[in-house]
C-alpha cells in the first residue's frame, strides 16, 4: 500500500438502530483491501464497542480509521462527559449504562475490556466534561 487509506465517520448519538454501521462499513472496506480476516474481526469488534459506547454515553462522536502497511489505527473521539475512573471502567462487568440501554442487550460492562482485548494497543485520553478520545491499533502481520 503506497499511501495510507483513511476512513472517517460521524457517529450519530442515541441512534441505536443504526449503531454499528461504521464498523460494518470498515469491515467491508478492509476485506476489499485484502486484510487478513482475523485482523478484520479484531478491528470490527473493537470499533463496534467504541461506536456503541459513544452512542450510549456521549451522544455520538467521530471515528477515523487509518490503514497503513503495518497497522490499522482506530481513533474514536467524542465530546461526552468523560470517564471519571478509567481503571474502574476497564474492569469486566462494570457498567454505568441505564436500564433501557440494558434492555437492548448493552451494558454488560465488556465494552472497554473488549476493545483492549482485541487490539494490540489502546490509549484513553479523557477529561471530565470535555470528552474522550480512544486510539487503538491492530498490527498487520
Amino acid at each position: 500500500m503506497a499511501e495510507n487509506v483513511v476512513f472517517h465517520f460521524d457517529i450519530d448519538g442515541e441512534d441505536f438502530s443504526s449503531a454499528g454501521g461504521a464498523s460494518v462499513t470498515v469491515k467491508k472496506k478492509l476485506r476489499q483491501l485484502g486484510i487478513d480476516s482475523e485482523q478484520i474481526r479484531r478491528v470490527a469488534i473493537a470499533m463496534y464497542e467504541g461506536e456503541i459506547n459513544m452512542v450510549i454515553h456521549a451522544s455520538g462522536g467521530t471515528a477515523d480509521v487509518i490503514v497503513s502497511d503495518h497497522e490499522i489505527t482506530i481513533v474514536l473521539a467524542d465530546h461526552g462527559p468523560g470517564i471519571p475512573d478509567v481503571s474502574l471502567a476497564m474492569q469486566e462487568g462494570y457498567s454505568t449504562a441505564r436500564d433501557h440501554i440494558r434492555s437492548l442487550g448493552f451494558g454488560a460492562g465488556m465494552g472497554l475490556p473488549n476493545m483492549k482485548k482485541y487490539t494490540d494497543s489502546m490509549k484513553i485520553e479523557t477529561e471530565l466534561g470535555r470528552g474522550t478520545t480512544i486510539t487503538m491499533t491492530v498490527n498487520i502481520t
Binding site: 464498523s23 463496534y48 465488556m110
Partner: protein, 113 residues
Amino acid sequence: MKISDLSAFLELRVLSGDPCREYDGVYSGDFLSRAMSRVKADNLWITIMNNPNVIAVASLTDAAAVILAEGVTLLPDAQNAAGKKDVCVLTSPLSAYELCVRIHELQKSHAGV
C-alpha cells in the same frame, strides 16, 4: 453441517437470509458485548434479542446464523437490517436450553458418536 439440515431437523422457520451455509459451533447469550467477544466465525448464535443491533453483531462476528429462541421474531428494523446485511436468521418455539440440547444431540448423531 448446513443450517438448512439443522432447520429441517428442528423445524426452524427462516426469517431472513440463505440457510445453505455450513455452521460450526454454537454460542448462546443475550448480552451483545458478550456475544461480540464470544461468537466465532461460522457459529450459530442463539438469543432472544431481536433488535437491529443483533444483526450488526452477527454480521461483524461472521456468525453463520442467528436462531431466535422462544418464538421470538425480528423487529421490523431488524428484519430490514438482516435483509440488507444478508444475515441468516431463524426462529424456533424452543428455549435456548432446548435448542442447545437438540443441536448437541444432532451433532453427536451426525458424528456417529
